[in-house]
Every structure is written in structure tokens, then in C-alpha cells.
Symmetry: C2
Subunit: 323 residues, 2 copies
């Protein structure tokens, strides 16, 4: 099985899910958000994790969808908190309906994620749920840190890395671990796959930060410099604030405090500061360390080389992609 | 064991729960809301349900607290949606912190409820979680109907009863059923206890509606007539709108549309309309039907009479109480 075929199987199964019927305003937002698509990265990872150990990847299909439903639940609630108007090119649920509906639909979506996890075999149900509970709590912790950082004066690199680990990376780790567990991997192997997923997630988020500044405008989905214009505390900005001494620090502070400016000018000026401080290089180095860790852990994993090659190829494509 | 001793055991155990540590703003609101107290009705019902079948009620303690945590999660999110400033005499979480914190703390609270349910023995975990998932979804459905009814022109009595069944009664039913299941009752007995809880819940909610109009001001916690002043679509108002013909209907409509009025006058006038239509009597009759159903089902339950007597006494006190 290839990731493309897994994706097709997932999209077919997701299209079949009803989640519930009445009241329409409770369940329609779930179908709406789930139908907006996306790369289905997390459930593909679950199926790839299972495929390392078994040909019977189908038994992992509904639990894999649980991870995708959980991920979309976090998007629905995060979008309310972040007042985001657009998700995947379409109005967010709280914009299309309202905040109350988005709160309540999100709640029942979390319940549906648990319901899909009940497909796990009886002897694996408790360990799967215990790990899922921990992961879900960590994702909430990450979102709370992310919101708290917005209003904080300073955030250290260590704090930032822990925040993105919780908010983004642990769910990628859980997705792989879940697949491995359902494929009857040993606890040690499953834990190693969790580490692989977390490292990929950390590298991936750093790459996202990096590409906002250094991505090619054509390839990169978002507008280059969006994070700079929003004064977003990305790894690059945090690293720059740690490195900069006057007069560079004073110049950076001026741009961060500026209210009236030419956007192109600000992006160019802050990028020039990043260049002088070597912030891009530091970010790339750290990002590559995470990816290297992930591949090293995968190499050491005692699973069939052919099966590992599929996961490795998928991860390589994921990492190489300018998005 | 008596309900009072159960309550003490529950309060002790609840005080020990940490839910999580960092970030503080994620977990402190949970401890805050759980510490505001309340009657702990639902977990007491779980322990009473277990005690019908076993002396080892302690094994049901953490799952019982799961029901209380879930109930408080719904309060935290409902209070955001209803813009309620006060809960149990104290500021609501979204008032004391903010709406985003209340959304996210609520989310992690739902996860904690699942975590507490993992205390169920391995062979019961799946059935317990399946029933909990269904119940949790129904409670969300009830809240969505409740919000939808606010902006609807007409709501039928059947629709209203189904709404309060979902929003309030099913969780009381689940609380009893969960205890019975953990006490190793048969599936049939557990289902009967669910019915008992639902009937108590339905009667209880009707009583709440009734007491808003006909309760003694000193005994009843809330201000008498609060629902009338808020034009709240209680069973009494719905029944009145179904029964009233002109000119009474016209008078009732005038009060519902009035913007500028003396509150005491409105409460007196609407109460007089209810009296003329016999709305209070109808509500009392229906309420008593639910309570009678509950006691009949309990009488028929094949459990030890002495153990049943404790539950019966508790239910009688619950029902007799003017609150």
C-alpha cells in the first residue's frame, strides 16, 4: 500500500461518516469542516505506522480517522480563539454559523473521536485511550501556551520549542504510535515511532517558520513575510531577539513597535536583520537536527526494511515539500 | 453506606484531583469550578447504583467523578454560550478568566472525564465508554436544541420534553446505569436504572419549571418568576401557548412582547393566566407521572429490597426538596 492509496481509503471512509443527524446545526459543521479536506497527514501516518507491522491496515482505519477528527476539533475551537475567518480557503465554522455552534459542534466532535477509537481491539483499548488522553491534554496545553505567549514580553527558545512540541508535534507522534500499537508493535517500537513523529513535527513547524521568511513566493502557500507583519513570535523572531545587540536590537524593536509602515519595507528590513544575525541558518540547522533524529530513529527501528522504506519516502516528501 | 457518606467520599476524592499542572490557566479553572461544590447528585447516583449490586462501591468512585467532571464541563461551556455571569454564587470561568480559557479548559476537562472512566475494569471499558459517548453526544444535542428554541417562534410540548430529556435527564440516567454496570448488574437491570434516572431527571426539570412560578419565595433558591420575566420557554409557557385562546392569548402575547413593564405586575399577570389555563396543574400531573414511573421501575427491579430502599429514600428526598 502506498500513502496515496491510504489517502484514497481515508477520504472514502471520511465521506461515509455521518457523526450524527439531528439537530442539523450540531452535526453539519463537523461534516463541513471534515469535507474541506487537507492532506490527511495524521491518519496517513497512522496507517503507515500500522503497515510497518501488519498487512491488515484496515483495522486501523477508523482509529486513524479518530485522529483526523480530533485534529479538526482542535482547528474548530482554535479558530474561535484566534478569531480566524478562513480555514482551507473557506469560512471557519464560527464565521459560517456562530461561536456557540462552533463550541458545541467541537465538543461533540471530540466525543466522536473517542467513539471512533472504540474500534481498537479490546486488549488495546485502555493503552490506546490512555495515550490519546495524554496527547489530547498536551495539545490543549500547547494551545494555552501559544495564546499566553502572544501577550508575553519575552519567550525563550526552549519555551517556544516546548509549545510547538505540545501544540503540533505530539499529535503526529501519537498518530504513528497509534498505528504501530494497532499493528501489534512492541511498546518500545511504538514509543520509538512516537519519537519519530514528534521529531518530524518539530522540524516541520520550524520549517513553516523558516519558509514564511525564506520561502519562494510561488511555492509557499502563504504570503511571504506574513509572520513578520503580524509580529508573530516565531522561532526566527525569538532567536533574533536573543541574538541582537544594539544598534540592531533597537532597529528590530522599532519595527516591532511601528504602527504606520510600508509592509514590503518592514518585511525587507526585518529579513535583513535576520540575515545579519544568521537567524535563518540557526533555524535550518535545528530543523535538520530534528529531521536527522527522526531518520536515525527510523533506521534503528527493528522492522522490515521494505516497510520502513515506504514511511521514509513519505517523510522525505513531506519534509522536502515547500509547504 | 448512606448518600451522605458517599457525598463525603466524593468530596474528599474530588479535592485530591489535580487534573493537570502547567499551564496554570488551563487547569486552575477546572479546580475552581469543581471546588464550587454543588449537590454532587450525579456521582452520588452512580455510587447508589453500584451499591444496589455490590459492597465494593469504591471501584466506582473515579468513574463517578468522571460523571461530575463531565457535568461541570458542560456547565463551563454552557455558561459561555448563555453569557451567564454567575455559577453557584461565584463568577463563571469565562468571567473570571476569559472565553478562550473557558473553551480550552472545558475541552481538557472533557478529556479528564474520559481519563477517569479508564478506571473501569477492562471487560467493562468498551460498553461503559460506548454508553458515555452516546450520552455525551445527547447532552450536546440537548444544549443545541435549547439554544435553537430560544430564537424559534413556537416549540411543541413534545419537542420541549425531548430537549430536557437530552440536556438533563440522560446524564442522570447514565449516572445510575454506570454505577449498576460497574456493580456487575445485568444489562437489563442497568438499562432499567437508566430509565429510572431519566424519569427522575424529566420530573425534576418540570419541577424546576413549576417552582419558578409556584415555589415559595423563601424555600426556592431563585427569585420566583425569573423565567416569566425572561420569557423563557418553560413547559408552563409552552403549555399556556398551546391552551390559550383569545382574549387570553392576546393578553399573554402582549406580556411576552412588552418592553416597558413593572416586573411584579408581569409575574402576577402571567401567573394569573397560567392559573386560568390550569397550566400548573398540567405540569404537576406530568411531573408526577415521571416520578411514578421512576418508582414503579425501581419496585420492579430485581435487586435486594434493603439496597433499593436507600435509593428510593434518596430519590424521594430529591423530589420532595423545593429546589
Amino acid at each position: 500500500m502506498t500513502p496515496t492509496l491510504f489517502l484514497q481509503a481515508l477520504d472514502r471512509e471520511i465521506a461515509l461518516q455521518r457523526y450524527g443527524d439531528q439537530p442539523t446545526d450540531l452535526y453539519e459543521p463537523i461534516r463541513y469542516l471534515m469535507a474541506l479536506g487537507g492532506k490527511r497527514l495524521r491518519p496517513v501516518l497512522t496507517l503507515l505506522g500500522a503497515s510497518l507491522y501488519t498487512d491488515d491496515w484496515q483495522t486501523a482505519l477508523r482509529p486513524a480517522i479518530a485522529v483526523e477528527v480530533f485534529h479538526n476539533f482542535t482547528l474548530m475551537h482554535d479558530d474561535i480563539m484566534d478569531r480566524a475567518p478562513i480555514r482551507r480557503g473557506q469560512p471557519t465554522v464560527h464565521e459560517k454559523w456562530n461561536a456557540n455552534t462552533a463550541i458545541l459542534s467541537g465538543d461533540v466532535m471530540l466525543v466522536q473521536a473517542y467513539e471512533l477509537l472504540l474500534d481498537a481491539p479490546a486488549d488495546l483499548l485502555r493503552p490506546v485511550l490512555a495515550r490519546f488522553n495524554r496527547t489530547a491534554a498536551e495539545v490543549c496545553e500547547g494551545q494555552q501556551w501559544d495564546m499566553a505567549f502572544e501577550s508575553r514580553e519575552t519567550v525563550s527558545e526552549a519555551e517556544y520549542l516546548e509549545m510547538i512540541r505540545l501544540k503540533t508535534a505530539v499529535l503526529l507522534g501519537f498518530a504513528l504510535e497509534l498505528g504501530a500499537t494497532l499493528g501489534r508493535a512492541s511498546v518500545a517500537d511504538a514509543a520509538r515511532l512516537r519519537q519519530i513523529g514528534e521529531n518530524i513535527g518539530l522540524g516541520f513547524q520550524l520549517k513553516d517558520d523558516y519558509l514564511d521568511v525564506y520561502g519562494e513566493p510561488g511555492k509557499f502557500g502563504k504570503r511571504v513575510g506574513g509572520d513578520i507583519l503580524a509580529n508573530k513570535k516565531t522561532f526566527l523572531l525569538i532567536d533574533a531577539l536573543e541574538k541582537a545587540e544594539s544598534p540592531i536590537r533597537a532597529e528590530l524593536d522599532r519595527w516591532l513597535a511601528a504602527n504606520d509602515y510600508n509592509p514590503v519595507e518592514k518585511v525587507e528590513a526585518v529579513t535583513a536583520i535576520y540575515d545579519r544575525l544568521g537567524v535563518g541558518k540557526t533555524t535550518e540547522t535545528l530543523m535538520n537536527q530534528y529531521f536527522t533524529n527522526a531518520f536515525r530513529l527510523l533506521d534503528e527501528l527493528p522492522a522490515e526494511p521494505e516497510r520502513k522504506a515506504t514511511l521514509r519516502k513519505f517523510a522525505e516528501e513531506l519534509i522536502g515539500r515547500e509547504r
